[in-house]
């Protein structure tokens, strides 16, 4: 029976090519726009941490004085980071910030490249599930006893070491030798959830050096440095002892018990710092600390652009206009066919059968519109990414769209078709049987 309905639907679509084209176009344009914006939204709102999202926490402290910032900053001061690190109370913990240096190897024929670098602790790789190709992170002891060691990415390893196992070899950062201890596999989470502060869709760094080297090497800060009061910053040491926030601090905690325990510790830490004359804002110590898991962290950093939310909203409204448009056209078309329905009803078609027949027709239109709409969306994303230089991660069609698109298309059409099909299947057959 279904095939019969499909056959009838196809005949009906072909019989009124203009009207059918109009409907397919309307639905496809609505779908095209919705899928385009939805795809970007979905890419933006993706949480790369997956199920580990609730285990990874950004430690945030209200270190500012009164009448300054009115929200938690995403970064910590160096002194707080050093204190938290030495307490060493979480399952895993890592400080992190971004710097950059010129990279060279013993092979003089390869031109030096300026590389974005992450300065962090050995636990970073475990916390963010970074996969290793060769070797591993530096020993935990390096986090307290600084050593010139480095973890590099697969791509750099190909450029500088022809893809061989380079563990034990040497690279030069600003002409200083660092020993390679690990090579990580291609790793580029989108959004760049471990640090979205300088572009949530930038590529991941390919060089990682120990945080413990910071006071020795005085790594330039390539991320944000936020201050809430005037502090002269003439030397690197000024930076290290300042109240300026520029380091992200991560802890891994399993379950409510660990989280509560760590919160208690942080509240105690704040109290202790208050006694030392810091954390001067009149707020309860407990309210001056918080642990932010990855989902909340991505929201805090506005990874999903507001414009995109507006666009998704407007495109859903747009789709609803298309829906109403199709509803009108379908009603028009179906009512025109009421006499035929009368005959079919007289001959023994039940209301349900008529309804099914028309819903199949509507569904077919939806499907056609959906396929066309998906093509529009792919085209639009291509054009947008070429024209506006959007990160590839945002304009690649998400696999789920292959499922979502026909679903939205068919359900839009079906919603639009419900009323017309209901109207037409409710028509009294006798009215249309008399010849006019």
């Amino acid at each position: 029976m279904f095939l019969y309905y499909v056959d009838l639907a196809w005949r009906s679509i072909r019989k009124t090519p203009f009207l059918s084209l109009l409907m397919v176009l309307a639905i496809s344009i609505g779908i095209g726009i919705t899928i385009t914006t939805l795809n970007v939204y979905k890419m933006m709102s993706f949480n790369p941490a997956g199920e580990r999202s609730t285990q990874i926490h950004s430690v945030q402290l209200w270190s500012q004085g009164p009448d300054s910032w009115d929200e938690f900053d995403v970064n910590r001061t160096y002194q707080d980071v050093i204190n938290l690190r030495s307490a060493n109370l979480a399952q895993r913990q890592a400080a992190a910030f971004r710097t950059g240096m010129a990279l060279q190897s013993d092979d003089e024929s390869i031109a030096p490249v300026l590389q974005s670098i992450r300065v962090t602790d050995s636990d970073f790789f475990g916390i963010f599930s970074v996969p290793f190709l060769y070797g591993s992170a530096w020993e935990a002891s390096v986090d307290t006893e600084p050593a010139y060691q480095v973890v590099i990415g697969e791509k750099l390893n190909r450029t500088f070491f022809k893809g061989e196992n380079s563990v034990g070899r040497t690279v030069y950062l600003n002409r200083k030798p660092y020993q390679v201890v690990g090579v990580i596999k291609e790793w580029n989470p989108q959004p760049k959830y471990y640090d979205p502060t300088n572009g949530a869709f930038n590529d991941a760094e390919e060089i990682f050096v120990p945080f413990s080297l910071t006071p020795i090497e005085e790594f330039e800060v390539w991320g944000n440095t936020n201050g809430w009061k005037f502090e002269p910053m003439l030397t690197y040491n000024d930076r290290l002892i300042s109240e300026k926030a520029w380091i992200q601090y991560w802890v891994e905690l399993q379950g409510k018990e660990q989280i509560d325990a760590y919160s208690d510790y942080l509240a105690g830490y704040v109290e202790q710092q208050q006694a030392l004359g810091r954390f001067t804002d009149p707020k309860q110590p407990r309210d001056k600390q918080r642990l932010v898991d990855i989902a909340a962290w991505l929201a805090q950093n506005n990874v999903v652009a507001e414009d995109n939310k507006v666009l998704v909203g407007l495109s859903v409204l747009f789709l609803s206009v298309c829906l109403v448009n199709i509803l009108g056209l379908l009603l028009t078309k179906f009512l025109k066919r009421a006499p035929e329905v009368g005959v079919r009803r007289a001959i023994g078609a039940s209301r349900a059968q008529i309804f099914a027949q028309y819903m199949v027709e509507v569904g077919s239109i939806g499907l056609l519109g959906g396929v066309l709409g998906l093509l529009w969306a792919v085209g639009a994303l291509q054009i947008l990414s070429a024209r506006f230089d959007i990160a590839d991660g945002l304009t690649r069609l998400d696999l789920s769209m292959w499922l979502i698109t026909p679903m939205i298309a068919i359900s839009t059409a079906v919603i639009a078709g419900l009323y017309p099909a209901w109207v037409v299947c409710r028509t009294k057959p006798s009215v249309y049987l008399k010849s006019q």
Partner: protein, 256 residues
């Protein structure tokens, strides 16, 4: 075969209540060919719609083939229509996008009959009406008489026990009308019960029994011996001539 007892049908609008049928009684026996006549507005169409189960009624009882079909659900009445009743309309009512074979096939589709069996029956039905060679033609390529024969084939394909014809020759010239009438008679002789609504007294005379509907009631003056003249009032006995005149007047008004 068909038994209507004390059927009433009232149409209500905000302003008026119209009694389309009142205490309507009719028995049609298996294998009969009954012609129903009556002036415009007498309730012929209402009777036809009720007999064909296209409409419900207000009071009374309707037995089709011994089964009470008075208050069936939409699904069930559609199934009864599909299996037991064949329709022939004045306007043929073929579906213009479907070719002849596909048109004839429609009732079989809704009955869920397998493709091979469908084809056999369609061929047979079209053969029966003499259009076996034109299966792939579209209705618009046929003359009115041919279209009506297709409609008859469609009604026959479902092998109904009971055929309802509404002015089957109304849109045809006299030659074609005669052909269609002969076809109907042949079908009747093969055992199908036929009830035909018509204006044409000449056509009506060819039926075995004539029933006249006046003011929503049966006024049966054909010799049937079934004793159903009850409820017939003296003042309702119109002469056939007056009937025709009234009918003509009504028709003239309708097309104005």
């Amino acid at each position: 075969m068909l038994s209507m007892r004390n059927i009433s049908k009232v149409f209500k609008t905000d302003l008026v209540e119209t009694h389309a049928l009142r205490d309507f009684n009719l028995e049609v026996n298996e294998g009969e060919f009954v012609a129903v006549t009556g002036p415009s507005g007498s309730g012929k169409t209402t009777f036809l719609n009720i007999a064909g189960m296209l409409e419900g009624f207000t009071h009374g009882e309707y037995l089709l083939d011994g089964v009470d079909v008075s208050n069936l659900s939409d699904n069930k009445s559609a199934a009864v229509r599909n299996e037991k009743i064949g329709f022939i309309f004045q306007g043929f009512n073929l579906i213009p996008d479907l070719n002849l074979a596909e048109n004839v096939e429609v009732p079989l589709r809704y009955r869920g009959i397998k493709a091979a069996e469908r084809r056999r029956r369609v061929e047979q039905a079209l053969e029966q009406v003499g259009l076996g060679a034109r299966m792939k033609h579209l209705p618009t390529q046929l003359s009115g008489g041919q279209q009506q024969r297709v409609a008859i084939a469609r009604a026959l394909a479902g092998e109904p026990r009971f055929l309802l014809a509404d002015e089957p020759t109304g849109n045809l010239d006299s030659l074609m009308a005669r052909q269609v009438m002969e076809l109907l008679e042949k079908i009747n002789q093969a055992g199908t019960t036929i009830v035909m609504v018509t204006h044409d007294p000449e056509l009506a005379r060819r039926a075995q029994r004539n029933i006249q509907i006046v003011d929503g009631q049966v006024c049966d003056f054909a010799a049937s011996g079934l004793g159903q003249q009850q409820g017939l009032r003296q003042d309702q006995e119109l002469t056939p001539l007056a009937d025709l005149a009234a009918d003509f007047a009504a028709k003239a008004k309708a097309s104005a």
